[in-house]
């Protein structure tokens, strides 16, 4: 594996290997001194061209726990606002001595272009509404920790699928690992053409609710209501919200997940968000572990301590 750009087409052995390593790093994170020297001397550049707090923090936490140095880039302080091409920005950061780049960008394929220009390992930290592979890995790790395996699990992903890089990544990771996925959204928030997706789709959350082992709730971008993708936030909640009432109808061992940040009162009620069966904070912890695994594998880290 030279880069981690997408979950589409990544085989099961690769996913298992990353999740196995992540389990080990999860254990490292819980030691008294949660740090290993595996990537000492390496420099990880986090290049977040789109505002992000948690993903960036998570990658930097992962790099530091592996003893790598970090170079941090954010658009507010960059030359991009002055009209510099992305290629020039990337080559500039490379020239400062980065060994790996984590790229988050609002535009589709940004990480692919960076990989082409920089000739360095690149991790896609989210490109447009396309892919966010480390999110899928942390989600898969969370499911695997809870259920032991994803084989045969039934998972509903609910919300703005059309504009979600999380959904586009989770679909491939979950199904490759053996789960069945149902996408639930109003028609305007489903992708216009699902040919070739290994999923079923539904516009009726209540119909799907009682059948699944996990409900993955996506954030609703309230401004989409303004763009008339759905009539109002209240109507969205009525049909697609993970409300306390719907939570009560789930099977007793069904868990709820969310990529964060949660908008309580819209896509998820506060009572659900705070219930122990909502795994949001486990997901955050697992995010550091899987990012350690990814950085470790891409930078060819050594296990000797």
């Amino acid at each position: 594996m030279k880069h981690l750009l997408t979950m589409e087409g990544v085989d099961r052995a690769t996913l298992d290997s990353l999740l196995d390593d992540a389990d080990e790093f999860y254990e490292v994170m819980h030691r008294p001194i949660p740090k290993v020297p595996a990537l000492r001397g390496k420099t990880v550049a986090t290049m977040f061209f789109e505002p992000s707090t948690r993903t960036k923090l998570s990658f930097e936490r992962a790099a530091k726990a592996l003893s790598a140095d970090t170079l941090s880039f954010s658009p507010g302080t960059s030359s991009l606002k002055k009209g510099e091409s992305l290629k020039d920005t990337v080559l500039t950061v490379k020239a400062m001595g980065a060994d790996l780049m984590v790229v988050r960008h609002k535009s589709t394929g940004a990480a692919w272009r960076v990989a082409e220009w920089a000739d360095l390992p690149v991790v896609n930290g989210g490109d447009g509404a396309h892919q966010h592979p480390t999110q899928a890995l942390l989600d898969a790790l969370t499911l695997r920790q809870h259920f032991g395996s994803l084989d045969g699990l039934r998972i509903a992903i609910v919300g703005d699928i059309r504009h979600s890089r999380v959904a586009r990544s989770d679909v491939w990771a979950f199904t490759t690992l053996g789960a069945e996925v149902t996408l639930v959204a109003p028609p305007t928030l489903l992708p216009p053409d699902l040919s070739g997706w290994p999923v079923t789709a539904s516009t009726d959350f209540d119909d799907v609710l009682t059948e699944v082992d996990a409900v993955y709730v996506l954030r609703v971008q309230a401004e989409r209501g303004g763009a008339s993708v759905f009539p109002s936030v209240a109507e969205y909640r009525q049909r697609f919200g993970m409300t306390d009432a719907r939570f009560a109808r789930l099977k007793p061992d069904t868990i709820v997940m969310h990529p964060g940040p949660m908008i309580r009162g819209i896509e998820i009620d506060g009572g659900v968000a705070d219930d122990p069966r909502c795994k949001v904070l486990e997901q955050v912890t697992n995010g550091v572990a899987v990012r350690m695994a990814v950085l470790f594998q891409l930078l060819g880290g050594s296990r000797d301590e």
Partner: protein, 430 residues
């Protein structure tokens, strides 16, 4: 006296392909004689295996001058045109400032004449500044020789305004050329809406964005009687609309671009903005409908929509890159490869029909006494795709194996390009 003799060619004259192999003798910028085994005058060029016909005419070229000369200018665009076999190009008016007044159109024409490698024909805006709010200086533009009007890059969205432009231009037999994309349906759209856009998470431009504008415009054409030209048709449904409009007797013409004939939306999978343009690359069934439209005459013209952008403007991810690809240099090869026309039809869509649309009397015609605007095209020759003559290299054809080579371009009797080696401009750069 300048003289040149083209020998042993398949010659496509005003009445179609001449029998056997023929020679064309050019004297002082005029086609002096066409026939077999003519006495050589001046240099003799062996054209065995090649077609000789009227030079290509592009009714859709972005020369970027004035205002965006880092992408292209009238000289570099003229050079690219000559390399591609063109003897005339219609310059699109989305320059900076936009060509919405007479003096701006005259500037473009004058610069073209100074360069002297092809006829550079200015088109004019329909609305002032292409802003879609009020009419451009249509009288001034007409007086400056403009016959083709377009807000290319945008549709004229306001049907009332468009109707008034149509009424005004119908009176002087102008052509309303429309970039047919409904801004609402295409909002945020980056590529064809379908399987690939869904997979990539990009907002799509549905076919209906194009078809609804054409359908609306056709009812206004019925109302006003104006000559109407559909730019860069990209969908099978649009071809159907145009076929029906022609059958009804409306004065409608249409063009397709080389890239919409050659590539489909699967080219976008790698998210390389070299394949980003508007309208977007569609699906194989659309490509086939466009090709068939050219074969059956529903689509009249292959027009390049040559849209140069500098490397640094495409050195971005997809959404941050501008729409547009270049096309002048390999358009003929595309037609040769994928449309499969006999020589007569080939020159119809690349030379004769576009010359007629642009109202160019000394283009699109090869007969004794006509102005020597000619191209020598070798349909079996391998096209050189190793570099561009244009200032910009945002071409999806670079590095492709393509069949069909422009051997020579002759503009007003002067060889302007030979195997992509382009002659110097006639006048000094302005």
């Amino acid at each position: 006296m300048s003289e040149l003799t083209l020998q042993n060619a398949v010659v496509v004259g005003a009445d179609g392909v001449l029998d056997g192999l023929n020679d064309v003798v050019i004297v002082d910028g005029i086609v002096a004689q066409i026939g077999s085994n003519l006495a050589v005058q001046g240099d003799a060029i062996d054209c065995a295996g090649a077609w000789v016909g009227p030079g290509f005419v592009d009714v859709h070229t972005h020369l970027r001058e004035p205002g965006e000369e880092w992408k292209e200018d009238i000289e570099t665009g003229s050079r690219a045109a000559a390399a591609g076999g063109y003897t005339a190009v219609v310059a699109m008016p989305n320059t900076d400032p936009a060509t919405d007044a007479g003096h701006l159109a005259r500037y473009v024409a004058d610069r073209g004449a100074q360069v002297g490698l092809v006829d550079v024909i200015p088109s004019g805006c329909i609305t002032a500044g292409r802003a879609g709010e009020k009419l451009a200086h249509l009288d001034e533009l007409s007086a400056a020789g403009v016959t083709l009007f377009t807000d290319d890059g945008d549709s004229v969205a306001d049907a009332g305004l468009l109707r008034r432009a149509m009424e005004y231009l119908a009176e002087r037999d102008g052509v309303v050329a429309q970039h047919c994309i409904d801004a609402g349906l295409a909002a945020g759209g980056e590529m064809h809406e379908g399987e690939i856009s869904s997979r990539l998470g990009m907002s799509g431009v549905p076919r209906e964005a194009e078809e609804t504008v054409i359908a609306r415009d056709l009812s206004l054409v019925r109302l006003t009687g104006v000559r109407y030209h559909v730019q860069h048709v990209s969908t099978a449904g649009a071809v159907d609309l145009i076929r029906d409009a022609k059958a009804e007797g409306l004065r409608v013409t249409a063009e397709a671009t080389p890239h919409h004939l050659y590539f489909d939306h699967t080219s976008v999978r790698d998210m390389n903005p070299t394949y980003k343009m508007m309208p977007p690359l569609r699906e194989p069934a659309d490509l086939e409908a466009l090709r068939d439209g050219l074969r059956t005459g529903v689509i009249d013209i292959v027009a390049t929509d040559h849209a140069p952008h500098a490397d640094h403007e495409k050195d971005h991810p997809w959404e941050d890159s501008p729409f547009g690809v270049t096309g002048l240099e390999w358009a003929a090869a595309v037609v040769n490869m994928v449309v499969g026309l006999e020589p007569e039809g080939f020159f119809k869509v690349l030379s004769c029909n576009p010359a007629a649309l642009a109202g160019l009397a000394d283009q699109g015609r090869l007969e004794e006494g006509s102005t020597a605007n000619l191209v020598v095209f070798d349909p079996e020759g391998i096209a050189d795709t190793n570099g561009t003559v244009s200032r910009s290299s945002n071409s999806p054809y670079l590095g492709l194996e393509m069949r069909g080579a422009v051997r020579m371009t002759i503009y007003r009797g002067r060889v302007t390009s030979r195997d992509r080696s382009v002659a110097d401009p006639v006048g000094a750069a302005g």
